[in-house]
Amino acid sequence: MNIYDIVFYLFAAITLASAFVVVTARNIIYSAFSLLFTFFGIAGLYVLLGADFIAVVQLMVYVGGILVLILFGVMLTNKITSVQIKTGTLQVIPAILGTALMAGVLIKIFTGTNWHSQMAQYPTKTTAYALGHILLTDYVLIFELLGILLLIALIGAATIARKEEKAS
């Protein structure tokens, strides 16, 4: 067991433990804050896989952005003081079917992956160069489509936010 394994198990433990809290916490705000540690643990796993740029993106977008959005979502809906927003056990059979399907896919991937390939080809310099290069040469169409996707998100957010104002 080398340092790589120890760090991996540390981040895997952080991710799994906090993900467990996300789904079992009775109060939605605890779930939201626990999600922070899940995102952080996943960023650590990306680093171990040699995807340093993705790890930084994970921290910037998920920890810095998506989580703020989720907390805003909680604050926007947490008005109802008489009814506590809590997680409960509903829809047992569809849940079992869904998780069984997901588990099947994950086990298939888990058994079919060569897990010892990443150590040998661990990059010595940042992957941002290679990413920047293929993003503007081979995948330039996807890059522009992504801009349009972000534009749609922006227009959608603006439309929803203004509708609320007219109603009030």
Partner: protein, 122 residues
């Protein structure tokens, strides 16, 4: 290799240990003489009014969405920026075109939000 990340682990470790030590030591060694005035909610010296579960305006959500969209924009500008010199050598000035299109598309969204009055704080 993984050794490059040792400084980051050190920073994370020091910040976690330091923040926990500060909170724990103030709990352990600080004098604690609570009374009802001290335990009441602090609101800039005023008597607290209203509940904390006030409904928050959806305008904040728009601000958060704007933040995420431009956060993602910055993330895509960054790999382009570090690779730009090489791309300029390969393709000449046309290396600028995809990024300009990308930025213009996003600025259209910004203009839309601006014209809709999404940035007004009324």
């Amino acid at each position: 290799m993984i050794e490059q990340y040792i400084p980051i682990f050190l920073v994370i470790g020091v910040s976690v240990v330091f923040s926990m030590a500060v909170i724990a030591s103030s709990k352990l060694f600080g004098p604690q003489r609570p009374d009802s005035e001290k335990l009441s909610t602090y609101e800039s010296g005023m008597k607290p009014v209203g509940g904390v579960r006030e409904r928050i305006s959806i305008k904040y959500y728009l601000v958060a969405m704007l933040f995420i969209v431009f956060d993602i924009e910055v993330i895509f500008v960054y790999p382009w920026g570090v690779e730009f010199k090489k791309l300029l050598g390969e393709q000449g000035i046309s290396a600028l075109v995809p990024m300009i299109i990308f930025l213009v598309v996003l600025e259209l969204g910004y203009l839309y939000v601006y014209k809709k009055g999404g940035l007004k704080w009324d």
